[in-house]
Each structure stands twice: as C-alpha cells, then as structure tokens.
Amino acid sequence: MNASVLMIALPLLAAFLLPLTGPLARWVGPFAAALNIALGISLWQTVAQEGPSVVVMGGFAAPLGIVFRVDTLAVLFATALAALVLILWPRTSADPRRESALLLILLAAGCGLAFSGDLFNLFVFYELIAVASYGLVAASRERLAAAAGLRYLVLSALGSAFALLGIGLVYALAGTLNLADLSRHADALNSPLGLAAFALMLLGFGVKAELFPVNAWVAEVYSTATARTTALLAGGVSKLALLIVLHLVLLVYAQPAALSLLLTLGLLSIVSGQFAGYRAADLPRMLAYSSIAQLGMIAAAFSVSGEAGVLAGLALALHHLIVKPALFLVGDGWPKCVDSLAGLGRAEPWRAALFVLLALSLLGIPPLPGFWAKLLLLKALLGMGEPAWNLAAAVVLLGTAIEGAYLLRVLQTLFRGTTNAKPATFGGALPAGVLGVALLLVMLAATPVGGALQRAAQQAADVPAYVADTLGGSPQ
C-alpha cells in the first residue's frame, strides 16, 4: 500500500533532481510516469485482493496526522492520470527541462489529490497542480498565451483564497480536517455557516473543475495553450478537482441543501457550456465549452446521493478523460475556424474518421461508450425521484440536443466540398490514436469495464467502511 506514497514521492524527487541529470533529463520524466503506471497497476491488484486500505504518514494515526485512502476509485484516477501524462509527453519544447519538471509535479500532485484523505492536504495538492499548470499554459508559443495564463492565475488564486476560507470555517466548526473524522462530525456542519463553507470550497475547487461561475478562463486558456497541455488540463486535472467535491458530498455534506447547490451549479455549467459551444466559431473554443458542459454533467451526477450517482459520474469522467484529450489533439494543426475545415474529411480521411468516432461517442451515439455513460447519468438522476433531479434529466437531454447540433455542424463541414490546402502536420497522431484505440477497447469490453466501475463506485459510496478503515485501525 505504500506504493501510493511512492507515486507522489518519486515524481517529486525526479522533478527536484532534474536540473542535475544532464543529458539524461529527457528520459527522466517519461520513465517516472511509466514507473507510476506500474505502481498503479500493482496497487490495483492489491486492492482487488485485499480491499481498500489506509496509509498513515509518519505513523501518526488518523485525526492527528495525514492519511491516504487507497481504494479502487483513487487507484483508477491516479493510474489514468499517469497514463495520460505519459502518452501526452511533449516531443518538442522550448525549454524541455523546466517543462518536464512541471509535468512531473503535476503528476505527483494529481496522485496526491486522488489519494489524500485530509482536507488541507487536498488543498495543498490542488494549489500544487494549479501552480504547475500556470507555467505549462504560459509555455505555449501562441500569442497571448501568457495573458491567458495571467488571467487564469488571478481567477484561480481568488478561488483558492475562498477555498482556504471555507476550510478554515470547517475547522472552526468541527475542529478537525480529516475527511473521515469530519464525516463523524457532519452535524456540526449542518448549519448556515457550514453550508457557506461548502459554497466557498465549491467556488475554490470549482475553478479547476470548470464549474459555472468560475470557469471564465477555460475558453481562453484552451485556445492558447499547446494541445497537449490543454488535453492534460481538460482530460485529467479537471476530473481530479471534481473528485475532491465528490469526497466532500459523500462523506461530509450529504445534506440536501449542499446537494441542491452542487446540482444547480452543474446544470448551469451544462446550459451555459452548450449554448456557448453552439455559438463558438472556432474549434478549440467549441471543444472547451463542450468540456464545461461535460464536467457540469459529472457534477450533476455527483449530486445524486449514493452509489448510482458515483457510478454515473465515474463513467462520464473516464469517458471524457479518453475522448476530450483525443479531440483536442486531432483538432491541433487544423485551421481553428470551423468554416475553414471544409474538405478536410477527404484530404485526411483517417484523421477525420477518428474525429467522427470521438465526436459521436462524446455525443452518446448507442454502441459507443459515451452512450452508456449518459444512460447511467439519466438513470441516476431519475432514480432520486425528486422534482429538481427530474428537471435535471430534462436539462441533460436538452444539452445533448444542442451538443448534437454543433458537433454535427463540424462533421458536416468536414465532409463538405474539397480543399486545396496541403495536409497539415498531425503532431498528435500517436497519442490521439492510442486514445481512440482505448475507446474502442472499452466499447468491446463493456461488461468487465462496467463491473470494475461498479466495484469502484460501491467502495467509494460505502461511507461507514471508509470511516472505520480510517479511524478504527491504529497504525502500529
């Protein structure tokens, strides 16, 4: 189980030592990411055999020290992030050494977000991932990338200050920061002040999770950062930020008011994202707005209490983690303006075919995995049996219709007319291809994948077991 700690310590060690490695520097990063995948797989097997467990830092037991909760959900996200980092590793870069160090830090912080069971520790890793992403965003050669990065930093730092204020309020009310311990003291947070703390944390963690009022940065950053950075932020980092929110609503804020707040923000994200996507004239922005809407759906799924919501959110998150990075990579190098895409379907048939496959899955066309994820979401929303959640199901369907309208517009343009432009370079062919194959594999192996997700959701939603694991067992 200590492999979970090594998944954070080793990339950090590699990042710190990177300036000294000389000519080996280009290999250190991919090697560390590959090592993390191996550690993740070994953890997956351990969890499958022995069930979830808890790792205590420094041997200081739960409420006093920081603990890691190692369960299927956490291992899944940590491994998926490591895989994403590895296949998106940049081939060329203006400053390879610094960029590698930032990517390694992002990897370590992502694993920390997946495993940590302590509220402030989550905040530290969240800030770490944020600071690493500012540097990566500004490393793009695109004009205005630094300006987008600066606006992103200001908004994100505002969110972090709010999140810290929320965490402070939680500590003032409950006197502890451990999530399992907070779960025992959830009553202390069931007050206007406790709800205000939740709202503040939602605003703070919602910045990376692209939630409604704090997502103004998304379109600017995704249209100026490099495709690989964008893929990493949209695919990996946003899900990990939502994972914090999931832990909060599952363990601490299971109260109806908090769930309604999350649902409302999720629905507003869906509506605003899909409408903005419909109005967008260039492809990276359209994909960015679609990403806001998709994350809104995940947030809506997490607002359903119990296993069904976790399962739906998990399926949507993993699907989006595969599809959206690949879409950004395919679109990279094509003209940004949607109208200039005409004829590319014939000029570059394979690339266009990949785009079609990914877009159809994103939309949720039946045999593709995206369909099952959306079906699970609708089932979970309707399963709550409350008017607000029924309305949410209608909003999701409406959003999908708008999404269909703009995605089909792109597909139509691709196969309309001919172009005399020479084929653009497809720099992201390999990672996009790998992600496309992964999507097809998930489609073919739908049953075992579904079973694994079900187990993960079951473990995550089992709050009494979580609390007993964390606080019951002593470290020695």
């Binding site: 730092a157 200050a161 920061l177 004239a281 260039d282």
Partner: protein, 146 residues
Amino acid sequence: METLSTATELEWLGWTFYAGSAGLVLLGCYALFAARHALRLLLGLFLLESGVNLFLVAVGFRPDAAAPILVGEQAGSMVDPLPQALILTAIVIGVGVLALGLALAVRVAKEEGTLDLAELGRRLAATHTPATAEETLPQSGRTETP
C-alpha cells in the same frame, strides 16, 4: 501572561479580529472586482489572503492560553497549533503564486504593452485571424508585438 477578566471583553476582542479579517477580505474582493491593472489585482489578492490568514489564526485562539511552544516544565494550556501550521504553509504558497503572477505580468507587459486585464480579455476573445493560424507549428517563432 495577561488574562481576560470577563466574557464581554473576550467577545469584543473577537469582534475586533473578525472585523479585521473580514475587512481585509472585503477590500481584497473589491480590488478584484473593480481594478483592472494586473499588479493591482495581485495586490488585492495579497489583501484577501492576509484576511483569510488572520481569520484562521483567530479561530485557534483560546483565552488564557500560551503560545504553542513549551518552555521548561510548563503545564498550562496552549492555543491551537494546527491553524498556525496551516497558515505558515498558506503564506509560503501565497508568495509563490504572487511571484509567478508577477513573472507572467512582466512577460505580458513586454509582449502586449498593457497590463489592463479587461483589455487583454478583449484581445483574447477576438477570434483567431489567419495571420496567427500557423503559429502552433513548432518551427515557427512567436510573433512579437512592438
């Protein structure tokens, strides 16, 4: 160590600290909503963070308790050390983010000639012109605006 005589006094002291931290938070929020110059926004963030820090340390305060440092064989009660440790961490995080923000501001000023974030937002919102379409290719250089 001086002690507090009455509960009213403690309450007044509490409101003093709450007013200080809430005041800083509100001033910081106002700067973030009303200012446009990037460095003024970063100054607003600095105020906001200071307010949050003061609030968290105030949460851990106990009347008639000493600072959380053992001196000799002392057995009296101590204030809560945990928020203090959290805030030490938060202060260092804050200075790191501030420095990175300043570095970004220096580069933006050099490239764009303005630090007005609203103006930069307008430039970002303008759709991509054909002139910038090829810049994503690795071999082409970054365009510099005079």
